[in-house]
Every structure is written in C-alpha cells, then in structure tokens.
C-alpha cells in the first residue's frame, strides 16, 4: 500500500475544494463575472506560495522524502495547443463550473448528473488523441 499516502492527500484535496466552494458552479460563474475576490484569492495565494515552494525545490533547499533533488517536469511548449486548448477548456469550465478535479469531488458529494460530465470529459480526452496528429500544436 505504498500509494496509501496519495489517497490521504486526495482526501485532503477533496475536503479543501469542497469547503472553499471551489467546486460550486456559482463560484465559477461569479469569478467569470468578476463579482468576487474569492476564487482569485484562492488561485492567487496558491500560486504565490507555489512559487516560493518551487524556488526552494529548484534551489535544492527542500528535498524529497528520499533526500534527493525534486525535479519539476517542464510543460510541453506550443502556442497553438495552449491557447486553443485552453480556450476550449475555458468554454467547458464556464459552462459546467467544474474542472477535472471538482468533477470527481462532486461525484463524492452524490451529484449524480456529474457522471454524464465525467463521461463527456473521458470522451473528450479520447477525441483529442484520435485527432492529435491533425491538430496544430
């Protein structure tokens, strides 16, 4: 059960996104309407702290549990894929108010209709791989 710790980290993540209402459709709508600081505060403070944490990772000041350097895999480059893919993602996010993590957390809250959204997301990932060679990246 070496993966058990990831279960616990997942439980923590699920509780945090649930209790901060990040997984509520209303909060995402409110964010895109610029009518609340809530979501910006959450993402912003996570990123600011993340920058500090990654700085220490990259400097080697914080090592992993085995005591070795933590390497952060760079994201794949490409303007077309990030701007077009990002915009398509944003259209879906704005419509359903849930990105991939929240979809699963909502499932845990017993929201049955989210099953349809998850099936759609799986089909979307599949469709991307079916079209991958034909898309600009």
């Amino acid at each position: 059960m070496k993966n058990f710790k990831f279960l616990l980290i997942g439980v923590l993540f699920g509780i945090v996104l649930s209790k901060t209402e990040v997984i509520s459709w209303y909060r995402i709508y409110e964010m895109f309407k610029f009518q609340s600081f809530h979501m910006y505060g959450i993402i912003g403070s996570a990123v600011v702290l993340g920058i500090v944490v990654f700085y220490f990772f990259n400097q080697g000041k914080i090592k992993n549990y085995k005591g070795s350097q933590i390497a952060i895999e760079a994201k794949e480059k490409g303007f077309a894929r990030t701007i077009i893919g990002g915009t398509i993602f944003g259209l879906g996010w704005g419509l359903i108010g849930a990105c991939p993590g929240p979809m699963f957390i909502l499932l845990g809250r017993g929201v049955f209709s989210i099953v349809i959204v998850i099936i759609g997301a799986l089909l979307g990932a599949l469709l991307y791989h079916a079209l991958k060679k034909k898309l600009p990246h």
Binding site: T20, W25, S45, G50, G85, F112
Partner: protein, 185 residues
Amino acid sequence: MDFILDPWPWYVGGPMIALVMFLLYFYGRKFGVSSNLETICTIGGAGKYMETLNFDWKKKGWNLVFIFGTIIGGFISYQWLSLNETVAINPQTVQDLTELGFANAGQQFLPDEIFSIETMLSLKGFLILIGAGLLVGFGARYAGGCTSGHAITGLSNLELPSFIAVIGFFIGGLIMTWLILPLLF
C-alpha cells in the same frame, strides 16, 4: 467547530492547495488531475486503437488513487463537515442569475437548472452536461493540463505555456459566461 463547518475563506483554501501540491512533489509525484482522464481511457483499452494512449497505466496508478481520495474527501465534507448547502455569492451575481432564469441562486450548492436529475433527463440538459464534459476533457488534454497542472503548478513554476493556457482558460470562460450562457438560458 464552527470554523470547520462554515465555508472556508480563500486564505485557507489557497495555502491548503499549495500544501497538496507540495506533498505530491515531496513524495516524488506531480500535481495534475486531467491526465487521469487519459489513464482511465487506457485502462478501458483505448491503447489498442491509439498509440499515444498505449502506455503502462500502472505507473500512473498513484494519481488514480489520489483521485479516488478526492471522491472520499467530497463525501466526507458533504456528510460531516457542512452545516448547510448555501453558497454566499455576491448579491449582484444572484440578481444576474435570476435575470437569466436561475431560481434560488446560492441557496443550494449547485443550480438545479444544470445539475438536477430532471434537467439531466431533458435533451437540452443532457447535451449541456455531456458537451461541457467534452470541452473540458478535450481542451485540457490539448492544452496539456487543466487548472491543477497549468494554473497552479505551471504558474508556480513560471512557465510560459501555462501562462498562455490560463489566458485561454479565461478567454473561454468569459465567452461562455458573458456571451453563450445568456443564449442557453
């Protein structure tokens, strides 16, 4: 106990998300939810038809365990850590939603107009649910990440692709919220 049972403020949520990311890297992994969509496709046998989905999914098993944990976390917070289901959104947001035809905005966790079983069983409701899922799944994998991988991790690592992706997330979200939702509802 009220500070746990009440909704948590942003300055608790953001640092806790950073903590989750820290723990995943500390234990030699990474923070990215949407790649699980591919892993599930692979487990379902998609690798036979698409070579880019033909990988050893067991190496990504930890991430599925993580996702399974989030489901449990959602269950725990719903069952034991919440007093009620209201979401204290801006009164202006409530008014805007009322004008769109959303009843009781913020009085429950999610709007019935999108998530109720009744809506799901209508043609329009079903198409919205599956269509939004398609957009999120396709877009996330095309962009190479979602909110966790790009907006949180990528921005924290000051990566240009993530900065562009997040601009895309907002272009799409703003178009949906300001232009398309008023046509749909």
